[in-house]
Amino acid sequence: MTRDGTMQISKSKSGADNFFISHLTASAAVIILWTGYLNTLPSFVAGLAAGLVLASSALMFLFRTKDEYTLATWHAGTSAAFAASVLFLLADAFTPAFENLSAADFRLGPLAAMTAYLMAVLIKRLRDRA
């Protein structure tokens, strides 16, 4: 708040907005990547989506500490991504269906982890809004 009573946009507010905008961008890009995994997409579209996921993830990482609520949502997301990664590794080790996976199929692991992260952040935001 400034002396004349007008509201000043705080670093926390703009940081949190940037974090949640990056989350939306990454979510859209991951949907495109899943579409590319299940069907065929032009390689430049898949490349663009992968680039968007990387850029958005970097922005979320940078803005995660701007506000304690964004940090809490970041932690919820990373916990889910960790759980998804462990499940993928366990499935890889113990499930016969995973034995014949091609190298391309192993993109599924990071994609599943990223999806789990984005879903957990979305669910936390929706739950906390009520």
Partner: protein, 66 residues
């Protein structure tokens, strides 16, 4: 954790965005604290306490007091 943040804010006729600006947190953080879905950190609890000029235990209730 239950709290009186929403009531105290309403008494002063502040919006969530206005309170967030005064506390230097995001509006989403204020909303999550008001709904009891997010417990503020100790530094933020102290800032809230100072802003409303009240002891922390008069704003937040952990349910442990008799």
């Amino acid at each position: 954790m239950k709290n009186r943040l929403k009531v105290l804010r309403a008494e002063r006729d502040w919006s969530q965005a206005e309170l967030a600006g005064r506390l230097d947190v995001s509006r989403q953080a204020v909303n999550a604290i008001e709904t009891g879905k997010h417990d503020p950190s100790l530094p933020l609890a102290f800032r809230i306490s100072r802003l409303f000029d009240m002891p922390i235990e008069d704003i937040f209730d952990d349910g442990a007091r008799p």
